[in-house]
């Protein structure tokens, strides 16, 4: 059995509590026991000694936490560490802007190697900011199994090389509690379910991403999200939604907590997180409204990282058995092409799963269009979200 350190144990406990898997009393009880164990066994000195004994390279990974990070740790990082002797130091971020802020403040990428990066927009931002690495795809033979349709948008930005490998995809649709909202009503209202006055004080929304709110504002004001002409109409809809919202959530764990504890009945939500709630038995349904937001996530390797080890890890993660196990754990479909790799029934049943491998049915954010307006519109969103 693989040992885990005290920090990891604490993070796991915190995530479990955040996800609603554990009550408060058990959380604090286990936390106290972990603290005593750390003290008795030498705590930080033990950890430092273990680190000193370690001979492999350390790779610093930052991701979204919760079930996503748990799946990566269990099915990818632990086996990789055992197989290679390298160590993956994984941490949770609230968003990539946090990482960019840290790197900018420090003036170096030290301590940051691989990011579970969100979408093509962020790929472009990292590359434009000069933090993109150049992956040697010869060291990642499993990339051959990745869908061409999911790699193409990345290649369009950096035609000569890649800094990241697409790893999974999903949608940001609408989750609703079936005890309080019927399927008929949800389907009838679509994106406008988030504007239902009858649900005032029971609606949640993701506050961490301006573009997500704008996408839904576009849908609610009958505009093409990738070709918004009337931004005022978009923000008017966001204001309408704000006046009904109980809480803007800022992480997947918080989203799951709010839904599981029935603080909110309706919210936009990440498909995988809802699937995790459903697996826990919560009466939460999920729907993608027409033109709902789809996204793809990549494993972005920052410039200055130990490339050979990073490429080895990516190849390991793209191994069909590993990628499928991670996908089942995090509940987001893998980027592997279903025409080349046989998917399990669990994967096939995941929200947003595309059996064709072409991704034609999903609508992604156009990075050129969205990045161009981000400076102005992200500021506008921050004001709107606070009553402006």
């Amino acid at each position: 059995m693989k040992k885990i350190d005290s920090t990891k144990r604490y993070e796991m406990l915190k995530e479990r509590m955040g996800n609603g898997d554990m009550d408060r009393r058990s959380f604090f009880g286990l936390l106290g026991a972990a603290g005593m164990y750390a003290g008795v066994s030498g705590g930080i000195m033990t950890a430092m000694a273990q680190q000193a004994r370690a001979a492999g390279t350390e790779l610093y990974f930052e991701g979204w936490g919760g079930v996503v990070s748990e799946a990566l740790r269990k099915h990818a990082f632990n086996p990789y560490e055992e197989a290679t002797g390298n160590k993956v130091v994984d941490a949770t971020f609230g968003g990539e802007s946090e990482v960019l802020t840290k790197i900018k403040a420090a003036g170096s990428t030290n301590g940051h190697n691989i990011l579970h990066s969100s979408g093509v927009s962020w790929y472009k931002r990292w590359v434009d900011a000069g933090y993109g690495s150049e992956l040697n795809l010869a060291n990642i033979p499993n990339v051959e199994n990745v869908m061409e349709a999911i790699i193409a948008p990345f290649k369009a930005i950096t035609p000569n090389s890649l800094s990241a490998i697409p790893y999974d995809y999903g949608t940001t649709g609408i989750a609703y509690n079936t005890k309080y909202v019927s399927e008929e009503k949800a389907k009838e209202l679509g994106a406008n379910l988030l504007l239902d006055k009858e649900l005032k004080g029971k609606i949640g929304a993701w506050g961490g991403d301006w573009a997500n709110r704008a996408w839904y504002g576009a849908l609610q004001s009958d505009q093409n999200p990738n070709n918004i002409q009337d931004w005022d109409a978009v923000w008017d809809k966001a204001r309408e939604n704000r006046d009904l919202v109980l809480k803007y959530w800022s992480s997947g764990a918080e989203l799951m907590d709010l839904l599981a504890k029935e603080e909110i009945y309706v919210t936009e939500a990440w498909s995988g997180r809802v699937a995790a709630l459903q697996a826990q038995g919560h009466p939460i349904a999920y729907m993608d409204p027409p033109n709902g937001l789809a996204w793809m996530e990549s494993m972005f390797v920052l410039k200055g990282s130990p490339m050979a080890e990073a490429e080895e890890l990516l190849n390991f993660m793209l191994d069909p058995a590993t990628a499928i196990a991670v996908a089942e754990g995090q509940k987001y479909p893998t980027s592997l092409d279903p025409n080349k790799v046989e998917m399990t029934d669990t994967i096939k049943a995941l929200p947003a799963y595309d059996p064709t491998g072409k991704l034609d049915t999903l609508v992604f954010r156009d990075p050129v269009v969205w990045n161009e307006v981000e400076k102005e519109q992200s500021k506008q969103w921050n004001r709107v979200s606070k009553g402006g």
């Binding site: 802020t101 704000r242 809480k247 029935e262 992200s378 606070k386």
Partner: protein, 290 residues
């Protein structure tokens, strides 16, 4: 005529030099960098241009959005400070006056919450006020309500969160002040005919004012500079000036504006400290060297 040795007393400066050095290195110089950054220009997300322009300052001075945030911050800071003062005085008085032999135990209980992360302490209110929290559970158990009451994510929970975190600072300050008062003064007042309330009001309370004032100042400044508590416990309209700084730096990646807002907050809170210390006579501390 005073001698020249008396007029140039170097002792205070010698004694203060380590603190002054630390403050210079850790506060003054970083703040100077922040001030310089406030004149830079943000071209695009995370892309700044070295410049000397007043665009960021002009925006802060003229945009009503920032004035609203300042008003909300000052208002909430005053509410939290007043409530913390009222709620903190009682336990501080009890600890100072108790004849309990193991008084250290009470003080230990007071600082016990500091052993738990500030974030965890803040999150704990969700398990008390939440839909499935302790309070709603109790209400439903007693048959007072059929369905859970919405108690979370509003200004009330933000205030509760602040008081929970900052109350020990207030209690400790008041306690230290009360502990320094001669225990014979109140009985002396009583022998001169004062009622217990009069003795407290006219003897103990005035003598404990320095601790109360220091506690108020601390809680006010800490509340005014916060942003995490409203983020966790507040609803969409519950935000402080610190949240705007977070937005500018972390979500808009606009460091020059973040620097401008940070310096604005520093000026505002600094102004409060200066005015307050003059009103409350905290500057009298310097007379200790005379």
């Amino acid at each position: 005529m005073p001698s020249s040795e008396q007029s140039i007393d170097k002792r205070p400066w010698l004694l203060l030099s380590p603190s002054l050095l630390a403050i210079s290195l850790l506060v003054v110089i970083p703040m100077a960098f922040i001030l310089v950054y406030s004149f830079y220009e943000n071209i695009d997300l995370a892309v700044d241009r070295v410049a000397f322009q007043f665009g960021n300052w002009a925006e802060v001075a003229t945009d009503g959005y920032y004035r609203v945030a300042i008003w909300k911050t000052l208002r909430l800071s005053v509410i939290v400070t007043v409530l913390a003062a009222v709620l903190g005085y009682i336990p501080a008085y009890f600890i100072a006056m108790t004849k309990f032999r193991d008084k250290w135990l009470l003080l230990l209980l007071l600082i016990l919450p500091f052993w738990i992360s500030f974030i965890i302490r803040t999150l704990s209110w969700i398990h008390i006020f939440g839909n499935q929290g302790a309070l709603n559970g109790l209400f439903q158990l007693l048959g007072l309500t059929d369905a859970p009451l919405s108690l979370m994510y509003n200004e009330f929970t933000v205030i509760v969160g602040f008081i929970h975190v900052f109350l020990p600072y207030m209690i400790l300050n008041i306690y230290v002040s009360l502990e320094g008062i001669d225990k014979n003064l109140e009985p002396a007042a009583r022998t001169l005919g004062a009622t217990p309330w009069q003795a407290f009001r006219e003897v103990t309370l005035p003598l404990s004012l320095p601790g109360l004032a220091a506690g108020c100042l601390l809680v006010f400044v800490l509340t005014g500079g916060s942003y995490v508590t409203p983020l966790i416990l507040g609803g969409p309209s519950d935000f402080l000036f610190g949240n705007l700084i977070y937005d500018a730096i972390v979500t808009e990646l606009n460091w020059p504006m973040g620097a401008t807002l940070s310096f604005t907050l520093l000026l505002l809170l600094g102004l409060v400290v200066v005015v307050y210390s003059r009103l409350m006579g905290l500057n009298q501390l310097s007379k200790a060297f005379k």
